[in-house]
Symmetry: D3
Subunit: 132 residues, 6 copies
Amino acid sequence: MVMVKMVEYDSASPEVKAVFDDIMTTRKTEWINNFWKVLASQPSTLKRIWTNIKEVMAPGKLDPLTKEMLYVAVSVTNNCEYCIHSHTAAAKAKGMSDEMFAELLAVVGLANETNRLANGYQIPVDPQFKPY
Amino acid sequence: MVMVKMVEYDSASPEVKAVFDDIMTTRKTEWINNFWKVLASQPSTLKRIWTNIKEVMAPGKLDPLTKEMLYVAVSVTNNCEYCIHSHTAAAKAKGMSDEMFAELLAVVGLANETNRLANGYQIPVDPQFKPY
Amino acid sequence: MVMVKMVEYDSASPEVKAVFDDIMTTRKTEWINNFWKVLASQPSTLKRIWTNIKEVMAPGKLDPLTKEMLYVAVSVTNNCEYCIHSHTAAAKAKGMSDEMFAELLAVVGLANETNRLANGYQIPVDPQFKPY
Amino acid sequence: MVMVKMVEYDSASPEVKAVFDDIMTTRKTEWINNFWKVLASQPSTLKRIWTNIKEVMAPGKLDPLTKEMLYVAVSVTNNCEYCIHSHTAAAKAKGMSDEMFAELLAVVGLANETNRLANGYQIPVDPQFKPY
Amino acid sequence: MVMVKMVEYDSASPEVKAVFDDIMTTRKTEWINNFWKVLASQPSTLKRIWTNIKEVMAPGKLDPLTKEMLYVAVSVTNNCEYCIHSHTAAAKAKGMSDEMFAELLAVVGLANETNRLANGYQIPVDPQFKPY
Amino acid sequence: MVMVKMVEYDSASPEVKAVFDDIMTTRKTEWINNFWKVLASQPSTLKRIWTNIKEVMAPGKLDPLTKEMLYVAVSVTNNCEYCIHSHTAAAKAKGMSDEMFAELLAVVGLANETNRLANGYQIPVDPQFKPY
């Protein structure tokens, strides 16, 4: 049960429509997914989060597919159902195959296991790992 | 304060030494980090986890650097101090620059934010994201 | 799929009925929400948790609305669907508007982001923050 | 850096002293660990939490050692350094050997791994698991 | 919405069938639950995880029921719906009564509470808890 | 062990100095805490996060003290040591007394407990909580 009313394009304010238009143009798509329709209930949040996403997920030293896979890894670890679906779809659109997804989940699962072994045993950090 | 006595190479049993040797050979290194010295207190766990790591982190459809960065993303989300240090060091050894690390953390941070927005608003999954 | 049978008022034991009556009197309401019907399957837990809630959520140096909003912030961070719904409803009954809810989620989202940046970079605590 | 001043027995109020005395009597010990000295900064919380601990950790259908090990499993999953140390010590005092601790951590690690595989793949619950 | 197609026994490859057969033989059951049908989409993961489960969950210094209850404690803390259902069912099959389950959840709940009090107050570990 | 070199004011680039100046002016303070010195290693992140913080933490329908306390609640739930210290200090500077802090932690602890009871019992959301 969604906590607020979703804002559809046709009944959106000009401010919200401008963000929706930018999302569709940037992503070369013709629909708006629920995440943005919900955020649109608070236009300042809609604009702020979209601005952050555009900046952070843009190609940089990491390519967009790697960034999407990192997003999926976090979403799986936090158990965010919506985010698992939306970012897995985005990663597939950018080239992630089923086998790559399976390997991604294998790493995420194993990392969650060894994270608890390291914390449970309270393992001291080796001085050799000193970053600089 | 580590919870068990760490096992050093010289005083290790042959079973443990065999795993330590395999770690050093596989990784082309001459030292054993604390994670393995601690797990060696329970040789069956040492062997099982090392076997899993070797299989999961081997090159596949994802390259080893991408896998290490996914490992860092999970470790940061879970706040595992040891794992952040050890896997960041491993990722750097495989080619992650400081700028790539900064971009990785930017994605991890943003994913943790939008995960909470999606959960807090209880956003329904769009049918368009149906995986197959 | 709920893990135990919920206990309805009419078929409850006198011990459970007494807690249900106190909940309805304290909250000036005429129904019992599922959380209590489920806890009633173990009457000692029902009584213990209700006693804790009454004590912790009572007006103190923090007003009841602030306390409910803190409850929502934790529930969103942990992704507890039931708790997000029940405590958001409680906060609204105590005066939280849709705009206040949107600001609450914006803070919760951002805090989850900067928590990961702080942990990911392993930032040392400034001595100026020493509490006393 | 602890966030409040710890309350030592000699300078404690009679209300706090009464709880400290009860802790030492119940646990057949002659010292108070830091957890209680910190909670004593807010006597109502000290009393409330101690009352909860006494009730929940008392022998019931589960024996006290099993309860302590469950406490350790949660503390490791949440990465609470203080709780890992204090409840592992308590479990050892109740009979947990080093080998039992190693098995406990192996289960906790593996559970954290398969939790992410189940969430990552969004596996539907089998109807056969319906609880009743 | 499950992320991959589940593999049914009749259409499984010989490699997958061998694991399915071993699961049914080991567990003295005649059906395969969804977890394994999903993992079967990546046979190497299916085999690896089943091997881990068999080794870690086998009787050792901890009995199988205690191990299942530890599994439930972790799954509840992480809010893994599938794992809560499957491991609670497994624990019940091994003798966990409704009252034992209620006590388990009471411990898990309280541990999650005191974990946050310990972290929130940043309580220093007592030197008496030094493990060895 | 911090993962990157912190950037001090005197050796900062003009771009970083401008953000540092804005932080000190906005907060009416004369020092820069480590969080910003670390983020300054990636100026685009420094600027982006500061812009977000300024927008989200500004007075709105919620007052700045309430926002800081929500930040503390999230940081305690996630166990972010740096964030617990920095945001508790900020909340105190805005008027949070020791007693308010104690009540905040009591709510955070209890919420973490009942979150697990709700998830562990898989309690269905009451239709009465439907948000609109």
